[in-house]
């Protein structure tokens, strides 16, 4: 099959996707070792965990560590197969093929990260099936091509098992192609270091923020859908660093971000007043 003429647009400028500076990432368990092994064995990886616990940051770090470009696709319920694989575009009254992000990653041996995979439509998710077993091929239907993945290509995806309805769940046939790494919020000691590093706020105050976060996490299911994430803590810490009163910063950085419900908000304010 000769498709050379069609691929004028497909060689990406790899450097766009390369992460040059080391992202700050503090391992919370053995996720780095698992990921490295999976990478060595060409097994795709599924990152599970609540929002803001460092999944995206982890991927950036691993991409930097292995010096492989990272292509991130945020999935949404309108994402079609063509959006991933590629499509014909019209140029001067003729058609040219444009690789989608997944195809680009497969061709160039990048790490492809599908964020919030459950949001994607089910018919979209199945295109990754042949890529994720030992065949490692991507069928490009419209080109009539079977694209063999470059050896460095690696597929990862993330999802948050917390608040999906039964309707939006991964098919077993999709799930079982992946090694899963479970992300949880880091333990107190680690989390305080992260918040401290990211925001520059003195450690003693970070400890309080982390304690507050753990209090909100205890309330999950009792008025809250999710507890405060590490990300929220970092944001709040940055506010405090800029000179806001901890009380005020927590109220807009944590309480108001977590809930709209007045009663729950009162309770969150009480928690904040307990700590600060």
């Amino acid at each position: 099959m000769n498709t050379n003429t069609m691929n004028t647009n497909t060689i990406i400028n790899n450097s766009e996707y390369i992460i040059h500076e080391e992202p700050y990432y503090l391992p919370t368990a053995n996720e780095v070792e698992i990921f490295n092994s999976a990478l060595a064995e060409n097994i795709p990886v599924l990152l599970k965990g609540p929002t803001g616990c460092g999944k995206t940051r982890f991927m950036e770090y691993m991409s930097w560590f292995h010096k492989r470009p990272l292509i991130t696709v945020s999935c949404h319920d309108d994402l079609t197969t063509s959006d991933l694989v590629g499509r014909y575009l019209i140029k001067n009254d003729s058609t040219v093929w444009q690789d989608g992000p997944l195809t680009t990653a497969v061709r160039n041996g990048c790490i492809c990260y599908l964020d919030e995979i459950v949001e994607a439509r089910k018919d979209t998710t199945v295109v990754i099936h042949p890529l994720c077993d030992d065949r490692r091929i991507l069928p490009l239907e419209k080109l009539g091509q079977l694209l063999k993945a470059a050896p460095e290509f690696c597929l990862t995806m993330s999802y948050n098992p917390g608040y999906q309805s039964a309707v939006k769940d991964l098919k077993p046939s999709t799930r079982q192609r992946f090694i899963a790494i479970n992300f949880a919020y880091p333990v107190e000691d680690v989390e305080k270091t992260i918040v401290h590093q990211e925001s520059g706020l003195p450690v003693e105050q970070c400890v309080h923020l982390v304690k507050l976060a753990n209090m909100t996490r205890n309330l999950v299911g009792n008025g809250l859908e999710e507890g405060a994430s590490t990300r929220l803590l970092v944001h709040t810490a940055k506010l405090i660093k800029r000179g806001f009163e901890p009380n005020v910063a927590c109220k807009c950085g944590i309480a108001d971000s977590l809930t709209d419900d007045d009663e729950t908000k009162i309770l969150l304010h009480e928690m904040i007043d307990t700590i600060f």
């Binding site: 319920d77 575009l89 019209i90 309805s165 309080h208 309330l219 309770l267 009480e270 928690m271 307990t274």
Partner: protein, 696 residues
């Protein structure tokens, strides 16, 4: 010691006048996103149903539009509640609503509304009128200087839970007995009301500090020295207890200062308001973990002086009698005495020498019978963890206690046609979980059902596929690039090719939640029950393959106090064999109080986030219950209930199996909302039309 005593001597407790901060500020935060005047006006008109002329409400509507969305919703809720009692009062409340909310805090305001409702329903209309008219005086009438337990219990309980993950119940104690707050490790006992300060907020803070003192007592395991305290009391009497209580309170304060700086601030502000002298902080070292034995050795060290100390306002009851109530087994936890950072000067005052101190320490340690073999010197670095382990098994106990109280029951109103009025809180609906006790034989006869299942699925598939992206359309939301490309790359160009190059996207219309309400009343016994079960199973089986959310609940009952709802499959459960068993083990029960069931299930369904919500009732159609819920009364209430559900944007639909039902179903539901099926074989044919009609 001397400075502590000095410090205590200076305690006085005048109730100080503190200016109440304006609560309006907190009300107006987040005021964005409220309803517009038009929307408000329409909603109000709907509720007030054309009372008075249209122009007269415009003024208040404009005012209301300035409130936050949550206040507006609260207003609409209260207005409709009032309007059910009296239109004219609802109207007058609306006129003064905005000014009233500006001068009262939210608690006062809801009390005000409550009082109005109370007066109207007890027919004291003049009283209600005057309440509305004199809204500006209302907050002066209620006694604000007392904060009662019931106001604070809920928040404090949740707060404690968020810290410990343990359900420590909060209970009130009788003030008249002059008791101090205490805990038994499972519950925290607080005074029924506090009026130390003349304002709610400060009294509340006192409650909060008391609660945290007791939490500290649990976490620091004061009760592990029970024996020593008992001995001390026997030997030296109440003096000992007084001194011990104060020292221990200070130790807990010290712990709170480290763990909960916010609470520490509260403590300091209480001290300041009651002009309690500066806190002698340095008696406990800032870094070391302390134990109750440190407090004891403190007392030992300085002897039991004759002075009686005044107690702190938030001090709890440390008497052995109360401490012994602790059910938490603290014997397993190591209490580890650590040298306190005792002020050099004060130790010079005492005659005790170093050796003596050590001896005493050992004495206490020995008595504490909490010394595990080996690691005696290891301090408890994680008291929280210890506590968590300790109380774990009590949590389950607490929980079951709670469950018993709540019992999953809900109250609903009922429409009385003869009174032309709702009877409030008339029906008690209980959710009862189902157990299946079914023998396999009853399920095996479903080979015929298999066939129907296939046919239903086929006809449903048609609808579903219908609803996704439709390509090659003459018109649509988006250009179908593929069609365009195909058309352009055609060697032999037809003009037609370029006609159908649009995509129509129907995807978003498919967001459907269906709740099946299955009538299992006694009147369905026999073939009706069978067909109901078969239909339910067929429908759920086929729906399990669609993207739609669905739930199944059965209902029956006897009398207004026993309306029973049996959840078979909730929205968040996936379909599985268990559910099939539950469906087939549904047995005819007692009666049908349809209205209550519909109201309850409507509420359940309302929580779904789907765009289309369908309440699908399978019944023999007859509302019928003891206590004269039959005939017109039953039909009218059911009709009313269906209308209420419709107002929640839920589509009701009744599938019935009884020809007689056709007499009143049209009246109860309106056209198109019901279907009669007399034979299961009809279901596959009917279902696709029904389904299409409902979801598109």
């Amino acid at each position: 010691m001397k400075f502590i005593i000095d410090w205590f001597k200076k305690q006085v407790k005048p109730a100080q006048k503190v200016i109440r901060p304006s609560l309006l500020e907190s009300k107006q935060t987040g005021s964005c996103g409220g309803m517009s005047t038009t929307e408000l006006k329409i909603r109000i008109e709907l509720i007030l149903d054309g009372v008075k002329t249209k122009d007269s409400i415009m003024g208040s509507v404009t005012q209301l539009a300035g409130l936050s969305h949550s206040l507006q919703t609260q207003f609409l809720d209260q207005l409709s509640e009032l309007s059910e009692l009296s239109m004219s009062h609802a109207y007058s409340v609306m006129l003064v609503y905005t000014p009233s909310i500006k001068i009262m805090d939210s608690k006062e305001h809801s009390q005000w509304i409550e009082q109005i409702i109370l007066s109207i329903s007890s027919n004291q209309l003049d009283e209600a009128n005057s309440l509305i008219k004199n809204y500006s005086q209302f907050n002066l009438q209620i006694n604000r200087s007392t904060t009662s337990f019931s106001d604070v219990a809920d928040v404090l309980e949740k707060l404690i839970f968020s810290i410990t993950r343990q359900e420590l119940a909060l209970m009130s104690i009788d003030l008249s007995a002059n008791q101090r707050p205490y805990t038994n490790g499972k519950s925290i006992f607080l005074p029924e009301s506090i009026s130390v300060f003349d304002n709610y907020q400060d009294n509340y803070l006192l409650y909060k500090v008391m609660t945290f003192q007791l939490l500290g007592q649990i976490q620091l395991q004061t009760n592990s020295a029970l024996k020593d305290i008992e001995e001390g009391v026997t030997e030296y009497g109440d003096h000992f207890l007084d001194i011990f209580s104060t020292i221990e309170t200070l130790r807990i304060n010290h712990y709170l200062k480290k763990k909960f700086p916010g609470i520490w601030k509260n403590i300091l502000s209480i001290h300041e308001k009651l002009t309690i002298e500066t806190y002698p902080e340095h008696i406990f070292s800032d870094h070391a973990e302390t134990s109750v034995f440190d407090s004891l050795s403190w007392i030992k060290q300085f002897g039991i002086k004759q002075r009686i100390l005044d107690s702190l306002p938030y001090q709890s009851d440390f008497s052995p009698e109360k401490l012994s109530k602790h059910t938490v087994d603290s014997g397993s936890v190591q209490a580890s005495p650590i040298m306190m950072n005792i002020d050099k000067k004060s130790s010079e005052i005492t005659e005790d020498d170093d050796n003596n101190q050590t001896a005493e320490r050992i004495y206490f340690k020995h008595n504490s019978n909490s010394e595990p073999s080996g690691s005696t010197n290891q301090p408890d670095t994680d008291i929280w963890q210890n506590l968590a382990d300790n109380i774990e098994h009590h949590q389950a106990e607490q929980k079951s206690l709670r469950d018993e109280q709540k019992q999953n029951s809900y109250l609903y109103p009922e429409w009385d046609i003869s009174l032309k009025q709702y009877r409030n809180n008339w029906c008690r609906v209980e959710e009862i979980s189902t157990e299946h006790d079914i023998d396999e034989s009853q399920i095996t006869d479903d080979i015929e059902l298999k066939f129907f299942e296939k046919r239903i699925r086929k006809s449903l598939d048609l609808i579903i596929n219908d609803q996704k992206l439709i390509r090659n359309q003459a018109d649509g939301d988006d250009i179908d690039i593929d069609a365009w490309v195909a058309a352009s790359s055609n060697k032999t160009k037809h003009a037609d090719d370029f006609q159908n190059i649009y995509i129509r996207n129907n995807k978003n219309s498919r967001s459907v939640a269906i709740l099946f309400a299955v009538d299992i009343s006694g009147s369905t016994a026999g073939w009706k029950n069978k067909i109901i079960k078969q239909s339910t199973w067929l429908l759920s089986r086929t729906l399990a393959n669609l993207d739609d959310q669905y739930a199944i609940y059965a209902f029956s009952g006897a009398g207004r106090d026993h309306c029973h709802i049996y959840p078979v499959k909730k929205f968040d459960e996936n379909y599985n064999y268990d559910i099939k068993q539950r469906i087939f083990s549904l047995k005819p029960q007692q009666y049908t109080r349809m209205g209550a069931a519909i109201r309850h299930l409507g509420k359940t369904l309302k929580q779904s986030d789907a765009k289309t919500k369908i309440l699908f009732v399978l019944t023999d159609g007859k509302p019928d219950d003891i206590d004269s819920y039959r005939g017109d009364y039953g039909i009218e209430d059911t009709r009313r209930a269906f209308n209420e559900v419709k107002a929640l944007h839920i589509t009701p639909f009744v599938l019935t199996f009884d020809k007689e039902a056709m007499d009143y179903l049209p009246y109860m539901l309106g056209k198109k909302h019901f279907r009669l099926i007399s034979d299961i074989t009809m279901l596959p044919i009917q279902i696709s039309t029904i389904y299409k009609q409902l979801t598109t």
